[in-house]
Symmetry: D2
Subunit: 341 residues, 4 copies
């Protein structure tokens, strides 16, 4: 049996760990043969296929990124995409695919599976917003990096009695913000799931200053204030007096400074959250996902993806159009409100 | 309501995070009053009680160890232990106790609870062997430290083409060895749950050398060879001439060197696995355990301890004499055998 | 003898280590008495004086920031500043000051010293641009953080075959950019001392892509392109079409993308470079600076500051109006050009 | 010109960084051709020569260990060693050698140079004991790892009010012990250069306990007590009943416990001090050493080695029989005595 492997979407610590365990178990236990498709669905569309064997996965477990490359290509946005993928599989004698990716990549995999392709999915995203699994790998690493950054910012904030805003990743979900904010001892945590009241934020900030502590505000990049609170005049102006919309972190710092009269600054963590060596937790999870994905291929259990439930790895259906993203629910968020302010 | 808090057993990253969240929520949400009992059950026996308020838990979230001190004192091994504890609680007007500890500490809590004391438990142990919870805090930090050490040892092993044995904590269970071994890409992982065959270990070591890679053997301190494989002449003698069993890591290196003719060395990680700042995962888990423990006190749900099930915190009964430790089962261990050798 | 201690300017890992060693040696060896002046020169102007003894410096060695607070207050920009400082010293019976700060703080110290105040300086700055000393503490920590970030960004760059620009601190000098860029294996390093040619930068970027590697560009926040290269049309426009000037990192990414047709993104490291626990090197240097500063006070060697020369700590005069900052000279920068492109 | 490169002695973070910069500059700037000699002098004796070009050094900068392998082989202890090395060089057309190693490796290089071989040396050792250079690469990484371990041990020590002994590397010199001990806030630091008085050590330990702090004792593996203090009954026996001296760390913990009545434990850091990714400082130093070493080859300046003096890289003669190791002198050690006890 020849199995193709591809990694799609944004890069994520642990992708290489999955590739390695898929190949190690597939070759050593089941006698499978493997090839890689370069740069996610792009390689599947273009027939960019590379050799993949035990030697080529040696030493990649602790390395971030993906040795197969990645892209955000969606095969359904290309003319005749699904047929071109079938052609690639046929041309290279590929019997089944292991598809490692986030919502978009897995959504395409789900659609292709319903059209008859033999696919098994492995969910990845640093955002942790894939439904059906307790956690995705990459998330723990991102939370660790953000927490370490918050630890560092505390000392700067305290030394200058200044409010510090930390903008972390999370366009549609606040998992990184919530976990890193709780772990880092933030005084305010703002997530996309819950539009915030800037007046409440400033009240928390001021209460912190009143007790002679410097506040840390952790905000997901996709968080937004309540309707009507971000108005044109809130936008900053450049040196020519032209308005510009800043990222939410920058807006928050300006607004906190304006409303409380305190010094406030922003740090945008950006790409350092998704790169580098995966944490031990993510290596463990990614390795197990890979082992179980190749088992699903062996069992012919296509159209499924691996998922974590408690300490068990299970198989669940690949996402379809009705599968939403996994968001932070109110009861979890409310658990931590005691730390705000 | 006045609530006492104590931490027992070996120190563990995250203890301070629990203390902080218990006190923060108890005071701010429920209007409780807190005191600390110093050094685990010892303080409860001796009436060593200290003030504990919101100010005293500021800034302790990222700090390892426990601000309340700890000990391995078992109140049932002291004359009249339970009565002395009741006296302490009465003398200081303590209505309920939050007991943070491992198996032994929680076992005593369970027994005291059955005698009528109002207790809520929080499980901790870097060994992850408390039954009833998916994970305990401290474990993720320990695994992270051990994994980083294994990462480092790979480069030394490869540079000198030498077998390196890493002895990690785990007297009765192999959780740290298994997780860190998998995350660190070890070639052999030995756990107390499964007596090992030294000949098999040496075969794995040699197969690794044959492919020009240097083997890493991760061994839990409590792992043992199959019956008959460790004989008297392997043991060293202490300063009085009495035989003593060398640590299993040291024995393994000697034995591997003797049987394979290859250079082999040992590193015993020791106490660095249990100290220092907790990982983000452990701070999250410890903080949630604390919040839920104080909720249980509020609800009068005594005799329970907090536990992690998937992503939820639940309450389970405190352990009793019939509760065993949580061990690595064969099916999980076997998942990873493809990486051995 | 009563000695005052103050920390001025931006916070910097190692400030607490200096405070601790000044106090430990001053009290234990010389029998001095200490007080702290809060928030740099501000506390000296306002008479904000706090107790400082051996107990208050326990445990602060590994902690970032400064327990004395800091500010950018310049006493010479306040009415009658020098006289108010003298009044504070007289009112609290302070015989001498240990002043820990960067160029501005030490420049003021130099001027006050020439007016007769008994001062000893300790240079600090993460930027490493204080003349007269090989290194300042805080710099090694900042370089370490930036290097770790660059390590992480490599994997994201490679996975997506994308140019990544990393903007690091350094308004007037490129020390952090140069050290972190060399240590992180950057392909282009841009420093304020040397205006860069954007065409050369793009040529380097493209040569890297040609060999199938993803380029990392490290740029100090104060680096600028050659005259005429940054023109109005280079400025980005916001969603309303208004121009805005971006930071140099953002400008570079836009320009590289425009000129090479490749994807390019920016990460601005910001405040995480100056916070958190100091590196071992910085703790060593800061501790020694403190020990030698208090020796200088004991010797009555006022008007000097501690400096590192090789492995020795020496005393040099406090900076005056003629002392420039220490910049990266051409011959050092040129050493590394072999790695560009 | 064809240049051979070899790495000898114990592995050390930064070896790969040297190899990379030697090759990058040699090829790109000077048009040299390179080969590697495997496993230090062993490859030179046996003619084990491997290709070495720009492609083979890509990506190795942040990796610990050495891609060329290493050994402790001394060519002067092999029959006809020097002539066999000359034969290897002649057979492979090697015009000059870059030899990266510690005292032993460089001592052999010095001797071979005096016999007419064209050699340039680069000093490496985590122990920092090579004379003629302010620092060697690898040392900063080792000190950082040891300091982080000491940071972790503080929390365990405090939680259990226990003395913790940390044994670090350093057979003949106490550089790691001194730097890590100072940076980690140790209460006692013991180095090989200065035989210690066990009674003084116990007095320091007890004074620390008196102030309710838990003592950390950092000891270099080569430190020894004053004559007469370690007697036969302190030694343990090996498996054949022969006495053996336990490691100094273990002896110290036993002795402290016996003499003070306090609980005392030991952690031996071992090999984790020499493995893994080099620190930013070590990557900077190793990279510069490589660049300057290849310049020396270009200049025909054989018989020299690179050395750090302040912030400059200079050339000094290769060590000979009269060159001693660089040790911690009394005045430096005495600087820190104020922190003891």
């Amino acid at each position: 049996m020849r199995v193709g492997v591809l990694t799609g979407g944004g890069d994520c610590p642990g992708l290489n760990a999955v590739i390695r365990s898929v190949v190690r178990k597939g070759v050593q236990e089941y006698g499978f043969d493997f090839v890689g498709l370069r740069d996610g669905w792009l390689g599947a569309l273009r027939g960019h296929v590379v050799p993949l064997d035990v030697a080529s996965v040696r030493g990649i477990l602790p390395r971030g990124g993906t040795v197969l490359g990645s892209s955000r290509t969606n095969p359904f946005k290309h003319d005749d995409g699904p047929r071109r993928i079938e052609d690639t599989l046929a041309a290279h004698g590929i019997d089944a695919l292991v598809v490692i990716g986030g919502e978009d990549t897995l959504g395409a995999a789900g659609e292709l599976s319903r059209r008859g392709l033999r696919l098994v999915g492995v969910p990845k995203t640093i955002d942790n917003d894939v439904a059906g699994t307790d956690y995705t790998f990459g998330f723990d690493t991102a939370v660790g990096i953000a927490t370490e950054a918050i630890d560092r910012l505390h000392t700067t904030a305290e030394s200058h009695m200044r409010a510090l805003v930390v903008e972390v990743m999370g366009r549609h979900s606040g998992w990184i913000a919530l976990h890193a904010g709780v772990a880092g001892g933030a005084n305010v945590i703002l997530v996309p799931e819950r539009p915030f009241d800037i007046e409440q934020v400033c009240a928390w900030v001021q209460s912190r200053f009143r007790f002679n502590y410097a506040p840390i505000v952790v905000v997901a990049e996709g968080a937004v204030p309540k309707e009507g609170q971000m108005v044109l005049k809130d936008r900053s102006r450049d040196e020519y007096g032209h308005v510009r919309l800043s990222g939410i972190g920058e807006w928050l710092a300006l607004e906190i400074a304006r409303r409380t009269g305190k010094d406030a600054r922003t740090t945008v963590l950006g790409y350092i959250q998704r790169g580098g060596s995966p944490s031990a937790f993510d290596r463990w999870l990614a390795t197990r996902f890979g082992l179980h994905a190749v088992d699903a291929v062996k069992d012919g259990d296509f159209g499924t993806m691996t998922a974590l439930r408690g300490t068990q790895i299970v198989r669940v259906p690949l996402p379809d159009a009705h599968t939403g993203t996994k968001v932070v629910d109110d009861s979890l968020y409310d658990e931590f409100e005691v730390f705000f302010g």
